[in-house]
């Protein structure tokens, strides 16, 4: 047996070896593998999450929200965590709209997940229920889903634009996601608030569209009624402001109720709508004078192996008569005075056969063949609106050029782009494409169109007090490459009022089955109905002050001359939407005010207020000092940290009435 001293030395050696191993292992863990273990530990305690950016909103031209982003929720249920499964189950089922069977199935699972998404209102009572886990997610919400659905489009499941303007404007609307680190407890549950924001989310830009929600509703309802009444296959309505190229309403509907954007994508032969463009070429090139007559040929004329007929035979016709009664024979005879190159150039100048350039993801160019591809009857066919395919938006822009004294503008759906803080990043200005005809020729063409409504085929669109200029078009439909027997497209293009037009309307009805198929009896009355409704709607973008000077051309009906009905009196002076509805006054400076005081101040000054954000008032749009019409909307932007920012800028903040 070893001596005690030796045993002690052995023990000491053992302890030393043990300690050395311990230190070595510690060094291995801390120094050699330190980074890996640190990362693993951090991963157990923290998690990097994506902070979704708010998608920008879409508004109509008056500020009515058309598409907004809202916080919605997915709901997870852990049945074993419920305190009172029966009572909690009843509440959860009611709020989530679950059937008893669905709830029983959920109870059998370890964790039930309901994707929803559910609104904040729906899940509010569930917040305090133990075992219910809410996962917030930003979702797109359309306050009135039926309004301009095809134009606005939709977002996909990834909240990126999938169709329509949502897709075109995706880069503006989407914003940029942020990132943050959240802490987790021992059980792996995340704490409620991010511990560290790596990159804050950048919200998307808000876009103010040119659409007028009320005109849009008028157009949609009128089109729906017309399709139902005429048992038609489909139709389109386009309304635009000829002075700016801004599209005010776009309605498209098919027989099955679907609403694809056919005003941009579907082409049709315009028929007699195109006669005015042949007249434009003839007048511009001085190939016709007001006294020139051509024979009506008794309503039937055989030329180049083809028979051209007129619905309303006339013995002889001037150019004005040709447009007024929509004579195929007369316009074909007059158009023979043009060379193919001249006829082609005029149609091309009016924008046919080319993209209009509107901000929409899909647009058809239509078809306008160059003269080298024409056959012998092509010149006559084009003058009558055949061998040419166009979209409703192209027709609207071309008629817009006539309304705009011969200047063709690029159409637009975007009026303004604003940052989340309200700053205007872009404001639409009219973008001329080219001068198509001179001002004098445009005035002469409008007079020809006025004759159509006053004494011609467009009489059904005539208003008592306001002159309207318009043209009818009834064309055979092409089905599978051939003209289908008994199928027609009825179309109508109108300028309202005829002098200094403020509105261009294009109505197209596809294949009306009930009653007449002529545009004069189908599309023209629809146009009249829409104009009357637009006149009666106070918020519609019409300058009634200018209209009031156009109205006296016809004698107004006596006020008490309609069975005692009280007439609708429009207040004067009417200001267009951009100018508001009252006298202009300066917007007060409310920067630094508390919300309540800021709103009161603006109300006292006679403005309506739209709130953006909360906290301390930072700025307004229109800005302080700018003039705005009394009664118009002032957007008030507030932020909880506005006071600090204002102080750093040297403003006295927070000011009277401010609340932190």
């Amino acid at each position: 047996m070893a001596r005690p001293a030796v045993r002690i030395q052995v023990v000491e050696f053992g302890v030393l070896v043990g300690l050395a191993l311990l230190v070595g292992r510690a060094a291995q863990v801390q120094i050699l593998h330190g980074r890996r273990w640190a990362e693993e530990a951090q991963a157990q305690r923290t998690e990097r999450i994506v902070l979704q950016a708010r998608r920008g909103a879409l508004y109509d031209r008056h500020g009515t929200p058309l598409a907004v982003t809202q916080e919605t929720y997915h709901v997870g249920i852990a049945p074993n965590e419920l305190r009172d499964p029966a009572a909690d189950g009843a509440l959860i089922s009611r709020r989530l709209g679950l059937t008893a069977r669905a709830w029983q199935q959920a109870l059998r699972r370890r964790y039930a997940y309901f994707a929803g998404p559910y609104s904040a209102l729906e899940v509010q009572p569930l917040r305090s229920v133990r075992g219910v886990h809410l996962e917030s997610v930003l979702n797109r919400f359309y306050p009135d889903p039926a309004v301009a659905r095809a134009t606005i489009g939709r977002v996909g499941d990834d909240v990126l634009g999938a169709s329509g303007l949502e897709r075109t404007l995706d880069s503006l609307l989407a914003g940029r996601s942020g990132a943050a680190v959240v802490l987790k407890d021992r059980a792996g549950r995340e704490y409620e608030s991010p511990a560290r924001v790596i990159a804050p989310p950048v919200p998307g830009l808000d876009v103010v569209l040119t659409l007028d929600a009320e005109l849009q509703e008028i157009a949609q309802r009128a089109l729906d009624d017309a399709l139902r009444r005429m048992d038609a296959d489909g139709g389109d309505v386009v309304m635009l402001d000829p002075g700016t190229g801004e599209v005010l309403a776009l309605a498209s509907r098919q027989r099955d109720g679907s609403a694809r954007p056919s005003a941009f994508t579907d082409t049709f032969e315009p028929g007699s709508l195109a006669k005015i463009f042949a007249a434009a070429a003839l007048l511009s090139l001085r190939r016709v004078s007001p006294t020139d007559h051509v024979s009506g040929e008794g309503g039937k004329w055989r030329v180049l192996g083809r028979t051209i007929t007129d619905e309303d035979p006339q013995p002889s016709l001037t150019m004005a008569d040709a447009i007024r009664v929509s004579s195929n024979i007369a316009i074909a005879k007059f158009a023979a005075r043009l060379t193919p190159a001249e006829q082609y150039a005029t149609l091309r100048d009016f924008g046919f056969g080319a993209f209009t350039g509107i901000e929409f993801p899909a647009e058809a160019t239509g078809r306008l063949r160059p003269p080298s591809e024409w056959t012998r009857p092509s010149a006559a066919s084009l003058a009558m609106g055949y061998e040419l395919s166009v979209t409703p938006i192209q027709v609207a822009m071309a008629y817009g050029a006539l309304a705009n004294d011969g200047l063709l503008l690029q159409p637009t759906l975007i009026r303004e782009v604003r940052s989340a803080s309200g700053g205007v990043r872009y404001r639409h200005r009219p973008e001329p494409v080219r001068r198509v005809v001179s001002r004098e020729v445009a005035v002469a063409l409008r007079n020809l169109l006025r004759g159509v409504v006053e004494h011609g085929t467009g009489a059904e669109a005539a208003l008592t007090n306001f002159p309207v200029a318009a043209k009818t078009g009834t064309a055979r439909r092409v089905v599978n490459g051939r003209y289908a027997a008994g199928e027609y497209t009825a179309s109508f293009a109108a300028l309202f009022p005829a002098d200094q037009p403020q509105l261009v309307l294009v109505v197209k009805i596809d294949n009306p089955h009930k009653g007449s198929y002529f545009a004069a009896q189908t599309a023209a009355p629809v146009t009249r109905s829409m104009l009357e409704q637009a006149l009666a709607a106070r918020t519609v973008a019409l300058d009634r002050a200018r209209l009031s000077t156009a109205a006296p051309h016809a004698a107004a009906a006596p006020v008490d001359d309609d069975g005692g009905l009280v007439p609708y009196v429009v207040p004067w002076p009417y200001q267009p939407d951009s100018a508001g509805v009252g006298p202009r006054r300066a917007v007060p400076d409310v920067a630094g005010f508390g919300m309540r005081e800021a709103v009161r101040t603006l109300h006292r000054r006679g403005f309506r207020v739209s709130l953006r954000g909360w906290g301390v008032a930072e700025h307004t749009w229109p800005a302080a000092g700018d003039s705005a019409a009394a009664g118009s909307m002032v957007t008030l932007f507030a932020d909880p940290h506005a006071a600090d920012r204002l102080r750093s800028r040297g403003a006295a903040a927070p000011r009277r009435g401010s609340r932190r």
């Binding site: 209102l121 009135d144 008028i218 000077t549 609708y568 009196v569």
Partner: protein, 94 residues
């Protein structure tokens, strides 16, 4: 020895105070985060409520609802253009 014990006590107290401060700070932060989350939830709830009200107002103001009711209950009708009177601007007023 007494001096050494005091040092141990001082270090122990310092350790406890520091630990308590860290603990208190963490607790306050977690509570604040909870309150923040609660406020966010309330704000989301109010936003949702506002959106719902706006949607209902839009629907109630829509022509699809308003026009039939005005016709049925009040006997009103959509005016034809001859019933719409635009008073012309007095000369020199603009």
């Amino acid at each position: 020895m007494a001096k050494g014990r005091h040092w141990v006590a001082v270090w122990l107290v310092a350790f406890l105070v520091t630990t308590w401060l860290v603990y208190a700070r963490q607790t306050a932060a977690i509570r604040a985060a909870g309150e923040l989350a609660d406020l966010r939830a309330r704000r989301a709830n109010m936003d949702g409520h506002r959106a719902d009200l706006e949607r209902r107002i839009r629907a109630a103001e829509g022509r699809a609802v308003l026009v039939p009711r005005a016709q049925a209950r009040l006997g009103l009708h959509l005016p034809s253009d001859s019933e719409i009177v635009l008073v012309p601007a007095p000369s020199g007023s603009r």
